[in-house]
Symmetry: C2
Subunit: 406 residues, 2 copies
């Protein structure tokens, strides 16, 4: 597969399977400046799929760096009003939204005051976006765009072609028929989710080096995976790749300690050796050997940022895991390993929450926050059990091999 | 001067002398994706100058190309609503606006249907912008950003450093003290404008190969140059470089034929061998050996697009002219040579037009249009005279040497 063909197939996957762009829809693409080649291929494929208009919003972390270093502190983290307005109105149309992941310069902010870096996160953008997810208003996807900068981060050298090969493996682009490969993979994930739902576990327990964590589940939650369906009936694949089966835990019932098993790239900084302790659901201690301040600042977003919003299971057959790489990008790394996220929960995993406000969601056990940060806690050394309401432990993962059969 | 120092001095010129960014102002930058290095330097310098926020709006002609080739025709030329809204509200704040010129790929659309290329021009963006100029609401500047793509166009090879050297010459960046050099240059231009105003010519006549054109002037117009002052009293330099003395002609009184003396880069196409004939002020014939369709489409913007909005005089001492280059960028090439523009006029050159509406401006002889395209008509072979109301011809330029003394 030559590079042009690969890019074209990748764009097809993003547009046709990922966002599933509908005829006449406006399409919004959110990309770093360095990701222009992928954004352009996606724009072309979107028009081929019948898009009415395509707008690429290019962001540039160097401009953000300028603001952190030289701008007035009180303006940090505020996006221009017209950009927020653009996002807020995605449900008109609606706009199909494609976000490009894979930070071209993940350590760009590493030498800066980390408190200011945290303050500079565009939380208002996230706040405008989150309701569309909760309301299933928009068909969307996140895919990554290989760049030399990202390759430098992964391999220590700007080997763009090698990164493209790894991404092709992780996204099944190297399968003879990628779309068919995705259909088969989605069926496998859905069978596992159904098996979990059938058992109706009360909690999930993770045990491994530095980890002994119990995450309480909700009685009326379901395990979801792979595809979402909008309220207009458009099925889309929000993450490419996706290997996880996930749900919204009971934010009030997380207990214990957990050590992350992958570095976490966030806000231009890489967080290493993250350790978190929960009591009565709340994060009471968080530390890391690097990048801790950025996470501390995220926790300050609001009180509910201290509670879990997501728990997700991933086994060793993961196509991301098979690459053997740490991508230093959450979209990929979270799909190589079990993970949890503090911050906003996932109402679509809990029955009867459609259209409910924050108070009712919290009352139902679904967390509500302006933050949502995933971190990876799985691996061959981590045992995962489902706990029944009577206290029985049922193996879910051993040595990264899926145990539960439907 | 090493490249970093040069870029830094260039950003200073754009921010401090060009837009003259004021403390606390929001700053908007309009740049091509490939111009990111210059946009970033300008963002940093803007913050140093006290900017409240800096937003860089990156545009990408490859996305526009995708729309022309593959998108629905009826959507061409429409910008996203939120972008227009951003521009429309520049007068709140007000926003200091810095536009980067120097198309990184001026022939990107050359192989496309030129009628569609014309339709894809973001005229709505221009329509939202023009009132801010007319109302003197915003301090703004246009500066160019050297890129390998532009260097390829100028030199036939992507010699970025050579283009930077040429731009440094054309913008007086190579002077020991560029700011002082600009002050002196501005004083020279102002003296010439004053001499022209003193004579109160009735018309300007251009004669040369393929050219015999008389442009009628307004009784109460003035010749302007170099700096504008906003209604808030902020003096700024709208073009860097600028070598021209210009005014708004009487749109009803242009007669004759004119042949352009430079290629004209517009909308991803280069227009060559442009010839235009005027009768009773109106363009009755326009032809070119390449790119004609794009200009024809511009003329269709509205009826008044067929009439002149600007006439400008430039002599051979121009720093742009001294480079001996054709930059294939109007910002530079128009400052190497006398030029005229069809389309929107310049009310600020005519006394008593502040705040007047379109009808009144037209009545006063100032053109009003959604279009404004400059093309170059001067050179050593073109003689320029000022015509008095009694019909006397006073030499203004001979062999590109300025003749009129104050």
């Amino acid at each position: 597969m030559n590079p042009e063909e690969r890019l074209q197939r990748y764009a097809e996957l993003a547009v046709r399977v990922g966002a599933n762009v509908q005829s006449g829809q406006p399409v919004g693409v959110w990309a770093h400046v360095d990701q222009a080649p992928v954004a352009r291929a996606i724009a072309r494929e979107s028009y081929r799929a019948g898009a009415g208009t395509v707008f690429v919003h290019y962001r540039d972390n160097h401009i953000r760096r300028a603001a952190i270093e030289l701008g007035p502190t009180e303006q940090l983290g505020t996006s221009p009003e017209h950009v927020i307005d653009w996002v807020r109105r995605f449900d008109e149309g609606p706009t199909a939204f494609i976000q490009l992941s894979g930070d071209p310069e993940p350590t760009l902010f590493a030498d800066l005051d980390q408190e200011l870096v945290g303050k500079s996160e565009p939380l208002d953008f996230r706040r405008a976006w989150i309701p569309h997810v909760a309301n299933r208003a928009v068909n969307w996807t996140i895919v990554a765009a290989p760049t030399e900068g990202w390759a430098q981060t992964v391999f220590g050298e700007p080997d763009l072609d090698r990164l493209w090969q790894a991404v092709a493996t992780a996204t099944r682009l190297d399968a003879p028929d990628p779309v068919a490969a995705w259909q088969e993979h989605i069926a496998t994930l859905k069978a596992r989710a159904a098996a979990l739902d059938e058992r109706g576990f009360d909690a999930v327990r993770f045990r491994g080096p530095g980890t002994d964590l119990t995450v309480g589940l909700l009685r009326d939650s379901r395990w979801l995976c792979a595809t979402f369906t909008t309220r207009d009936g458009v099925e889309h694949l929000p993450n490419i790749p996706t290997e996880e089966i996930f749900t919204s835990p009971d934010w009030r019932r997380t207990e214990g300690v957990v050590r992350s098993t992958y570095p976490l790239a966030v806000s231009g900084t890489v967080v290493n050796d993250l350790e978190v302790r929960f009591e009565n659901g709340r994060i009471v201690d968080l530390r890391a050997s690097s990048g801790e301040e950025v996470l501390q600042h995220q926790l300050e977003t609001d009180e509910q940022a201290h509670f879990l919003g997501e728990v997700a299971l991933v086994d060793g057959t993961s196509a991301v895991k098979r690459t053997g790489l740490v991508f230093r990008d959450t979209l990929f790394d979270e799909n190589a390993s079990c993970h949890i996220a503090y911050g906003n929960g996932l109402p679509m995993t809990v029955d009867g929450t459609d259209g409910k406000g924050p108070d009712e969601l919290l009352e139902r056990g679904v967390n509500v926050s302006g933050a949502h940060t995933d971190f990876m806690i799985g691996g061959v050394e981590v045992e995962v059990d489902g706990l029944t309401s009577s206290g029985e432990a049922v193996p879910l993962l051993r040595a990264d091999v899926w145990q539960l059969q439907s």
